[in-house]
């Protein structure tokens, strides 16, 4: 945590935690990648365990503080001590607190005895707020009026939570909801004002704002000539020479260039663009990356066309996002097997065994490194969350608090300008599908 005079910075290293890890890496890496990965894993493991030990120590300190304050009121003698737990502390922690309390009281000359032998009573309540553990002690000695003392300490998650200091805020704004699964949604500028395009498995519907509501303007049917997969996915991409394209498993649709809107669909196994900007021949040296979608499944096969540098085949994946680098693009792939692949055109680095969300999207902003990676995370059973990450020079860091949704995220796509993303959520309460625009804003 930064000091009070410092502005929080998300990509500043915490001096005495990760600095050694970084320097160790630099020295060791050239000899063995495996060794490096092992060391990193060990460091991460240690980073997870150390706070637990530190937390236990904090509990003891707070208990001793409380005991000192109790003793200051009671003076030496015998008291009846009651400890009630109304917080989220587990039984073991409560036992530790009680032991520390009793030990420190003894140091102060206060013995804990049965009520009938006591000169007074001390009723301790272990409570908590959202941020802190708050422990109160009501001390009643003889006929004196009871007095209350308390101590507090940050709750366990508060000590590690980055929420108050996250530099980036994710905001969701509701766009539209319907009973049928929404596959994608986007805004389209047209004569007469913007239209909201909603893609589902049966149609592309255009909506126009009227009286603060989206009113259906046209519905362009998609007549599938083959069965769609159960977890149907689809992409709605704005185009320069016509209005938009639609990609569905095994089907491609192209809209007319202007109103009246028309949609021509045909069977197609052509690859899907992985980025919204698919200007094709205008960028011959750096053509947009496309990937083949498995027509009877819910994932990309892993075949890229064109490839990313030397890499043209990857394991099957659900989603991909490019992160700009000074001289190249770093692509992040969420593979079907749960692994994450980082592809820079030369190497394909993968990590198995993690529990990574299968939907990710990159959005540009004026914050931080300028591009954030949005990743879906599980919030079972209530709903999924979305969180922004950055991969600065060497660490990936969460740069936002999790943005909560009222159900599972069923689709996550960046918009045409890559300045926001659309997250489709199946609401747990209604079962309806809800399109939300996700934007990134700087917290400071």
């Amino acid at each position: 945590m930064p000091g009070p005079s410092e502005n929080p910075r998300y990509n500043r290293r915490i001096r005495h935690m990760l600095a050694r890890a970084s320097s160790g890496l630099r020295i060791q890496f050239p000899h063995s990648l495996f060794l490096t990965l092992f060391r990193l894993a060990a460091l991460l493991f240690g980073a997870l365990l150390l706070p637990a030990a530190s937390f236990a120590s904090n509990l003891g300190d707070a208990a001793r503080q409380l005991a000192d304050r109790i003793a200051a009121i009671s003076g030496p003698g015998a008291v009846a001590l009651e400890v009630a737990n109304r917080s989220s502390l587990d039984e073991k922690s409560v036992h530790e607190v009680r032991s520390a309390l009793q030990a420190q009281l003894r140091v102060q000359g206060v013995r804990t005895v049965a009520a009938e032998q006591a000169m007074g009573s001390v009723n301790v309540v272990l409570s908590e707020s959202l941020r802190d553990y708050v422990w109160t002690a009501e001390v009643s000695i003889g006929s004196d009026a009871a007095r209350v003392v308390l101590v507090s300490l940050p709750r366990e998650h508060s000590t590690v939570s980055l929420a108050p200091t996250q530099p980036i805020t994710l905001k969701k704004s509701f766009l539209f909801a319907q009973e049928q699964p929404i596959l994608d949604a986007t805004m389209l500028d047209m004569p007469g004002g913007s239209r909201l395009l909603i893609l589902d498995a049966a149609r592309v519907a255009t909506y126009r704002q009227q009286g603060g509501r989206w009113e259906l303007e046209t519905a362009l049917p998609i007549l599938p000539t083959r069965a769609f997969p159960r977890d149907t996915r689809g992409r709605l991409l704005l185009r320069r020479d016509h209005l938009f394209d639609v990609y569905l498993p095994g089907i491609f649709c192209r809209s007319s260039a202007s109103a009246p809107l028309r949609l021509d669909c045909s069977l197609s196994d052509d690859p899907w663009p992985l980025t919204p900007d698919d200007s094709g021949s205008s960028n011959v040296n750096n053509p947009p990356v496309r990937a083949f979608f498995a027509p009877a499944r819910n994932f990309f096969t892993g075949a890229l066309s064109p490839g990313i540098g030397r890499i043209s085949t990857l394991p099957a994946f659900y989603s991909a996002a490019p992160l700009p680098r000074p001289n190249y693009k770093l692509w992040v792939f969420a593979a079907v097997d749960g692994s994450i692949h980082l592809v820079d055109g030369i190497t394909d680095q993968s990590m198995r065994g993690g529990h990574t969300g299968s939907d990710l999207a990159a959005v540009h902003s004026n914050c931080g490194l300028g591009t954030q990676l949005l990743i879906s995370e599980s919030g079972e059973p209530e709903g999924d969350t979305l969180r922004a990450y950055e991969i600065p020079d060497r660490d990936s860091v969460p740069v936002s608090s999790p943005l909560e949704f009222d159900g599972p995220i069923t689709a996550l796509w960046p918009d045409a300008a890559l300045t926001s993303a659309v997250a489709i959520v199946k609401r747990s309460d209604t079962g309806w599908y809800e399109a939300n625009r996700i934007t990134v804003s700087c917290a400071n």
Binding site: L25, R26, F29, P30, L33, T36, L37, L40, A41, L44, R226, A227, F228, P229, R230, D231, T232, A296, R297, N298, F299, Y318, L330, V332, V336, D337, G338, S339, I340, L342, D344, I346, T347, Q349, S350, M351, G353, G354, H355, T356, G357, S358, D359, I375, S376, E377, S378, G379, D384, T385, R387, Y389, I391, D393, R394, D395, S396, P398, P408, I409
Partner: protein, 449 residues
Amino acid sequence: MKRIVLLSVALISLVCASGAATRPRYGGTLRIEMQSAPATLELPPLNTPTDYWDMARVLALVGDNLVGIDVEAHPQPALALAWERDSVGRHWQFTLRHGAKFHDGSSASASAIAQILGGLHADWNVRASGDSLIVETEAPFPSLLAELALARNLIVTRNANGTPIGTGPFRVVDFQPGKSLKLAASEDCWAGRPFLDAIEIEFGKPLRDQATALELGRADVVEAAPQAASGQRLRSSSSLPIELMALVATPNSKAQDIHLRQALALAIDRKPMHSALLKGAGEPASALLPNWMTGYSAAFPTQVNAQHAKALLAESREPALTLGYDARDPQAQLIAERIALNAREAGITVQVSLSGPDDLRLERIAVPTPDPALALREIAKQVLLPPPVHQGNTVDDFYQAERALLDAGSVIPLFHLPVASAASSRVHGWAPTQLGAWKLADVWLEDAR
């Protein structure tokens, strides 16, 4: 090389940072255990509800109905996308889904479906009309859609071995009567290929063994006693109460004495049985249809009235009845004995027995549909009551019809009970319906690759 280092570091932190919010994965075999041990893949009668639900779930994996039905009894498209009817509900026309195929590759055409449905209902006139299907019944049949949604009206053909061949998400690979069933994903299913590659079902497993198998990771989906399903430890799910537990009088037995039967009904204290023996699962009932379906069960009170019971028996001399029960039902014996105890307090001797002719039987009956008209008819048929007569399809109509059945009939409703099941943590998308259907085509496995 530096770039590789950076990639490695980023990878580790990304993988560790993210929680799992994954899309459904394809592959894997789901292992199921069931209590029933079917000799054939045919639907058993409603009064063997465990066998009925098991087979209904199995057959729903293999075939589709012409229409489905939701918990509020609204029809849903299945093999039929749309339908029309005449004003009285005697003539129906169905628009069929294009492209649906049976597992043997043949088309689920109007003529093929007409042949199957016509074979199931000799009293219906079922025929193809182009791409549409026409169904005509002798009498008006407003509940025809609910009827078509019943498991017995699944659109399946049978091969020479009697193996069902349907249009559903899975096809039968191997059936060992009474022992096991293996199913494989249908790649060409009209609703999309299921996520699972295969399902293996082991039959004849008692509930306790199923729970153990689930705990030990030998099974992924099992049945459960409703009271166990309400616990937190299992990832379990209970349906709405879709079974009726009732005392059914045997024809020409002493239980046909209406005063005796009424006295017994008044003597039974359902609440202690419900809380102690059924662990609070379901609800005490004096009506045939569950309250979630009708909303009027309060009109059929379940209170004990021993005094009234004794008054009804004033002219009877040492009334005595025998009560039989299904030995496979783990709760039946205790409930039967409790009924005997209640009866004795009202002056009726009830002897609980597993053998010999019974005056009364403690039975469970599956309530196979959320449509009250059809459900009432099906229950009445099972307990040998005359077909219910109702003028219309209002709640009051159903209440009057049910009241008439109970007043004149020979059944004492006791409880409405849910059915429950549980799944292991590797099963995702596990969302059984409120009617107890498993919807396994949408299930996927955590470790599927």
